[in-house]
């Protein structure tokens, strides 16, 4: 029997309805995943070009000159081109990878199945939100191909640089406009996604799936959706004001008395660049948690599954997720210690920032508690989850330094910050995605990934990313400024150049290692061994259905959940795991 609820969209037959404009959350999830994969390859290529330029600023590369006849005339990159690569690397990675894959990709595919629903609450809205995201990516990438090229104001797009127009440099004409338009479109797409996620979790849970029985992945997707909802609405409003400053001559963010490249700017006055910073970081800080929270959910799920133990302190984990979400909206000022803010405000922001350390530490403690005494299965997925915890701790600890105004004044414009946010927001989140990929690939594509290739990929990547980003902290402490295209001829930094060369080679190495992953992905997709319904002996609902799941997820059967998500190694049970739909051997008292 097919549930009439799912008659909203019968299994489609035409290629376009099935794979392109699909209403099926599973197809949309894979679409998001592929969009993120495409984006991460662009973002990574840009970072390699930057790392190359930093240590070879004067070496001529013929194909660079062909790609950018003006910005890399003679094959040598201009500082402006370097800045535009930096801007686009940050933007593409933050928005189209870190925001897109963990939430919209895995969340779309897995969430409805994990809560026992046949689809998301609003399938048409879901399809629209994917194609709107796609449009945003097209507009963003188009910025490379317009006159002046891509913008150079950074992913934070601080005015006046981002608001004053082409006078401020190449890329600040149409390129910057396209950047803002793309981000505005992306905000719209994220808002649609957030509405769908929240309504789905609140209203479409199956019988017995109380909030406190949900897998922690669902909790993190819920809180991430709330953060996206509140954050992207503010960024959208700020983006509208910024584009009006550029195109309509208003002065929301642009002050009087600007002198840009020997031109006096007379038509703006009274605006406040700091106003943009406040609005941007009110979104920007929660964005960090949008990137990392789903990874935390995946780590919790995997550490429990592969330790064959329940999550240690499930309720504490839920409250920690909620507090991180709440506190995440109160700390944006710690990105602005350098802006000349009142020291008392800085102190308040610093104190609140330290407060976030508490739920973060609770989570880390509970992850270790989950592992403690468990029968640990070192699958590739588990290794990446452990790697996530490692990177989260490493990146989190340097965050405590940066949360102190007195230290941040020194560190703020150095590589210390670059090392910090890449560890916690970049690499940790990406390890969460790798963990999710190896864990859910069998469910998504019906085939197993190759474990040997996976483990080689894990160890080499793990070593690689530490080799890239640990030295960044050191050169940062030594005073190496960030965002500079070239510092080979700066005397006080001369001794650091070998460290930069090491980081650049580590980046080449790590990027090359990712080919192993791509080969594994492609090979397993076509040729991997067929996956059983529950290859990991996991308890949650997505493992009760075939791999890949049928169109309506449960073949018309309505699942009924009897207990929480992490019943492993229950005394008296015949196996070391009890599915959420199976009764416990003894009354749980739940």
């Amino acid at each position: 029997m097919s549930s009439p609820a799912h008659a909203a969209h019968h299994a489609p037959h035409s290629f376009i309805r099935k794979y392109v404009f699909s209403l099926d959350h599973k197809v949309i999830g894979i679409q998001y995943y592929l969009l993120g994969l495409f984006s991460v390859l662009i973002g990574m290529s840009l970072s390699l070009l930057m790392r190359f330029h930093m240590v070879n600023p004067n070496v001529s590369v013929a194909w660079l000159g062909k790609l950018w006849p003006t910005a890399a005339a003679g094959g040598v990159m201009t500082p402006e081109l370097y800045l535009s690569l930096m801007t686009m690397h940050g933007t593409i990675m933050v928005f189209f990878v870190l925001t897109t894959v963990p939430q919209s990709g895995f969340g779309n595919f897995i969430l409805p199945i994990q809560i026992g629903a046949e689809d998301m609450a609003f399938p048409v809205l879901n399809m629209m939100s994917f194609w709107t995201t796609f449009l945003a990516l097209v507009v963003m990438v188009a910025a490379f191909f317009v006159q002046g090229g891509a913008p150079l104001a950074g992913w934070t797009a601080y005015p006046p640089l981002s608001g004053a127009g082409p006078l401020t440099g190449p890329g600040e004409g149409l390129g910057q406009t396209l950047w803002i338009v793309s981000i505005a479109i992306f905000c719209g797409a994220s808002l649609m996604g957030a509405i769908n996620f929240i309504a789905t979790i609140v209203d479409l849970r199956c019988k017995g799936m109380s909030l406190m029985r949900m897998p922690l992945t669902c909790w993190t997707w819920l809180v991430t959706a709330i953060l996206g909802l509140l954050g992207f609405a503010v960024l959208l409003a700020a983006g509208v004001l910024l584009i009006l400053d550029r195109q309509a001559g208003t002065s929301f963010f642009l002050p009087a008395g600007m002198l840009i490249n020997d031109h006096i700017i007379a038509n703006h006055k009274g605006g406040s660049p700091l106003l943009w910073q406040h609005l941007f970081w009110f979104f920007g800080h929660p964005e960090v948690y949008i990137a990392i929270l789903p990874g935390m959910g995946v780590a919790s799920q995997l550490l429990s599954t592969f330790s064959r133990k329940p999550v240690f302190g499930y309720k504490a984990m839920v409250y920690a997720i909620l507090s991180i979400g709440f506190l995440g909206f109160l700390v944006w000022g710690h990105h602005m210690f350098m802006s000349g803010m009142n020291p008392y405000s800085a102190m308040a922001f610093a104190t609140l920032t330290m407060c976030i350390g508490v739920p973060s530490a609770i989570k880390t403690f509970n992850w270790i508690g989950t592992l403690w005494g468990g029968k640990i299965h070192f699958t590739t997925a588990m290794l990446f989850a452990l790697g996530f915890v490692s990177l989260f701790v490493t990146g989190g600890v340097s965050g405590i330094f940066l949360g102190q105004p007195a230290l941040d004044l020194y560190f703020h414009d150095t590589y210390f910050v670059v090392g910090h946010f890449h560890m916690i927001m970049g690499v940790a989140a990406i390890f969460g995605m790798f963990a999710g990929t190896f864990f859910w690939f069998p469910k998504m594509f019906g085939r197993m990934m190759n474990e040997t290739l996976g483990k080689i990929h894990f160890y080499l990547t793990f070593i690689g990313v530490y080799c890239i980003f640990t030295p960044m902290h050191m050169v940062g402490i030594a005073g190496n400024p960030r965002r500079y295209a070239d510092f080979t001829n700066v005397e006080y930094l001369a001794k650091l150049i070998p460290v930069h060369q090491f980081m650049t080679h580590a980046a080449y190495f790590t990027a090359a290692v990712q080919l192993i992953f791509l080969v594994n992905l492609a090979w397993s997709w076509r040729k991997g061994p067929k996956a059983p319904a529950n290859p990991w002996n996991c308890t949650t609902l997505e493992w009760t259905v075939p791999s890949p799941p049928p169109h309506d997820n449960f073949n018309g059967v309505h699942p009924v959940v009897l207990h929480g998500a992490y019943e492993y190694s229950v005394p008296g049970a015949p196996r070391d795991f009890i599915m959420q739909t199976e009764p416990l051997p003894v009354p749980s008292g739940d």
């Binding site: 549930s3 009439p4 609820a5 799912h6 008659a7 909203a8 969209h9 809560i115 629903a117 046949e118 689809d119 609450a121 609003f122 399938p123 048409v124 809205l125 808002l191 957030a194 509405i195 769908n196 929240i198 309504a199 789905t200 609140v202 209203d203 479409l204 849970r205 199956c206 019988k207 017995g208 799936m209 109380s210 909030l211 909802l229 509140l230 992207f232 609405a233 503010v234 959208l236 409003a237 700020a238 509208v240 004001l241 009006l244 309509a248 001559g249 208003t250 002065s251 929301f252 038509n267 006055k269 009274g270 605006g271 406040s272 106003l275 406040h278 609005l279 009110f282 309505h558």
Partner: protein
């Protein structure tokens, strides 16, 4: 389940829904309840997002106003037609609720009449806002003239953008009603539209206070 507002709009009424699905800790509150609940959750989440966007504009307004010196921020002489527009919008909300009451009482023809009237008043409000913009333009006040006028245009445009969505929903329900296709599933669409419309009403009153008290 998927019998949502978006689904209704695109595919017509969903088939009847069996029991036993949806509801989570409501203990499986069945079928239609789940879809109606999801539509309302979606609506309130959307309202939260809109509120955040207007909160961002408002805080920008407050900060920008506070930073301005005497010759920067020049208060705009808002066109008096704004008060007429306010009255029209309030009237539309009032008539909309008369219409919902009529439907509850089973008076379909009164429902149709009142709903159409509310829709017409909504369109009239938009026309009135356009007239207000035109009058401002005639007096030489443009978006870049000074920060007060910039914010006036931004706020009214953002509000009108929401209102266009509201009018589209009103027209949708109206068309369904006039074609006698107002099944029970459409009740959700009616309620969602009405709540959204009242929200825009309240938002406009807030903006009027902002313009006249701080602007």
């Amino acid at each position: 389940m998927s019998a949502s507002l978006t689904h209704d709009i695109l595919h017509g009424p969903p088939p009847p829904i069996d029991t036993g699905w949806g509801g989570g800790d409501h203990g499986g509150a069945a079928g239609r309840g789940a879809s109606r609940a999801a539509s309302f959750t979606g609506l309130f989440v959307l309202l939260a997002a809109s509120t955040m966007a207007f909160a961002a504009f408002t805080s920008a307004f407050v900060v920008r106003r506070g930073l301005s010196d005497m010759d920067d921020w020049v208060s705009v002489h808002y066109p008096p037609i704004l008060f007429l527009n306010t009255a029209i919008l309030l009237a539309s909300s009032f008539v909309l609720d008369l219409s919902r009451r009529a439907l509850k009482a089973g008076d379909r023809s009164k429902f149709n009449f009142c709903w159409s009237a509310a829709t017409a008043l909504g369109v009239l409000f938009l026309a009135g806002q356009a007239a207000a913009w035109y009058q401002l333009k005639q007096t030489g006040v443009f978006i870049a003239t000074n920060p007060a006028s910039s914010f006036f245009y931004v706020f009214t445009a953002a509000h009108a953008f929401h209102l266009i969505g509201g009018v589209a929903a009103l027209v949708y329900v109206d068309v369904q009603a006039l074609r006698l296709r107002l099944g029970p599933a459409k009740r959700t669409a009616i309620d969602v539209t009405a709540i959204f419309w009242h929200f825009l009403d309240g938002l406009w009153l807030f903006l009027m206070v902002l313009f006249y008290v701080w602007g």
